[in-house]
């Protein structure tokens, strides 16, 4: 949340998360080296350097699959949401592991000639019309550049200064990086390694990632349509029944304008604010009230339900909406008020008074 920027916003949970990532990477590389020296031996023996290149390359690819699965899984199963909390660090770690792979490749295959390693990389193979001899390294290099751009702009400073919309679109380029990496492996490692297991494993990964994204996207689109309320010029619209809202939770309503509104119940009070977190657009309607504030399920950003403002010293603000309760029904004025506008919460007692 805004106030003076810090290098890394670590807390106890994030430290554990990062420790698990680093330990996981270390264990994977060690296991790969041990297993690889057993599998590739005799006539098929490979040098320790190539083994290390493969260890970091496969590690980075597996990590990218995990990063890409976390988002849709969190949409489909809220219990996965804690993994989303620190996904940025996972993404940066994925880039760093990929960078080690690329640095080792440059050193080993392009570091001992007369040309400088980057020139050698670009000029040593230019068979762009061939599939079996395609210069797959270039695809990996472009993917790494995209991952670098994302890792370099992962701090909240960039979210604030590129604007959330541009930042989101920039970070969606991870899909492009993923496609390039799959092509990098298919045109590279799969051309030299003939065992049938490799294409099966890569294909399964692609099917898993693609199907999770498609299922989550289609489900979300359907849910939005189901929750859509038509306004037709009326000032107050029927948002939901009071009994639909769990204590400390919300019901999300989609307006005809595609905007989503989270109607929160906090004890005897009902308040409405934009469903979209000012940080990364997280679904506030899927969060909870913690310490009197609406808390985003993605990164824990908080807002007061009555005015949509983050508690001091933070400065984020969300649009709010007017509500009233009539005969157990929550009525919503669909006109968004300017971010941070105080709105007196509707009281649930009003139900009993009709």
């Amino acid at each position: 949340m805004s106030v003076a920027y810090r290098t890394v916003q670590w807390n106890a949970h994030k430290r554990v998360y990062d420790l698990v990532i680093v330990t996981g990477i270390g264990l994977y590389v060690l296991l790969f080296l041990a297993a690889g020296s057993l599998v590739w031996r005799g006539d098929h023996a490979i040098s320790p350097m190539i083994l290390l290149i493969r260890a970091f390359g496969t590690c980075s690819l597996i990590m990218l699959h995990i990063v890409l699965c976390i988002g849709p899984l969190a949409r489909l199963e809220p219990r996965v949401a804690p993994l989303l909390y620190n996904r940025r660090h996972f993404g940066v770690a994925t880039f760093l592991v990929g960078l080690v792979h690329a640095a080792l490749v440059l050193l080993w295959y392009h570091g001992f000639g007369v040309l400088s390693p980057p020139v050698s990389l670009l000029a040593s193979n230019v068979q762009y019309r061939s599939i079996s001899a395609f210069p797959f390294e270039i695809l990996g290099a472009i993917a790494l550049l995209v991952l670098f751009l994302m890792a370099a702009t992962s701090h909240d400073f960039w979210l604030a200064n590129l604007s959330p919309r541009l930042w989101k679109r920039l970070h969606m380029c991870v899909y492009l990086a993923y496609a390039l990496l799959v092509a990098h492996v298919a045109l590279g490692a799969l051309q030299s390694e003939r065992a049938v297991i490799y294409p099966i494993v890569l294909g399964a990964g692609v099917v898993l990632v693609a199907s999770l994204h498609l299922v989550a996207g289609i489900r979300e689109t359907r849910r939005n349509r189901a929750r859509r309320v038509e306004v037709s010029g009326e000032q107050w619209i029927n948002a939901c029944k009071i009994s639909d809202i769990e204590e400390g939770a919300a019901v999300t309503v989609t307006l005809a304008s595609d905007e989503r509104v989270a109607v929160y119940r906090n004890g005897e009070n009902v308040s409405a604010l934009s469903d979209r977190c000012a940080h990364q657009g997280g679904p506030l309607g899927e969060g909870r009230i913690v310490g009197g504030c609406v808390t985003c399920p993605w990164h824990g950003y908080q807002y007061r339900p009555e005015d949509g403002q983050s508690p001091p010293p933070y400065t984020e603000k969300l649009p709010t909406y007017r509500l009233k309760v009539e005969a157990g029904t929550v009525m919503l004025d669909p006109t968004a008020l300017p971010p941070g506008t105080h709105v007196e919460p509707a009281r649930i007692e009003e139900v009993s008074h009709g």
Binding site: P118, L149, Q191, R276
Partner: protein, 109 residues
């Protein structure tokens, strides 16, 4: 010819990166607090950590620095539906492309 193009690409990218690094050092030293008031009182580590991004996106940050002080409208967050539609579009386009690439790669082994 391939060597010439490769050298040209490396020189252009290298020059872009060099300008970016020089600009980034100037930016984190004096520009960042003008562009973003939340950077006032920020840690030294924060300034170091944004250097790669500033170096990569230096034309964007140069424009921000030049425009610093002018009133900036509230940037739209965008609607959740438009974001979801964009995600979906990516995943409707990518799988067929990946399948084609995969098949081509396998039959040419």
């Amino acid at each position: 010819m391939a060597l010439l193009i490769a050298r040209l690409i490396v020189i252009v990218l290298g020059a872009y990166a060099l300008i970016g690094v020089v600009f980034a050092i100037a930016f984190v030293t004096s520009g960042v607090t003008r562009v973003d008031h939340n950077a006032t009182g920020s840690t030294r580590g924060f300034r170091l950590i944004i250097i790669p991004g500033v170096a990569a996106l230096w034309p964007v940050m140069l424009a921000r620095w030049i425009a610093a002080g002018r009133p900036r409208g509230t940037a739209p967050v965008g609607s959740a539906s438009s974001d979801m539609a964009l995600h979906l579009r990516w995943w409707l386009i990518l799988p067929p492309l990946l399948v084609v690439a995969f098949i081509l790669a396998l039959i040419n082994r």
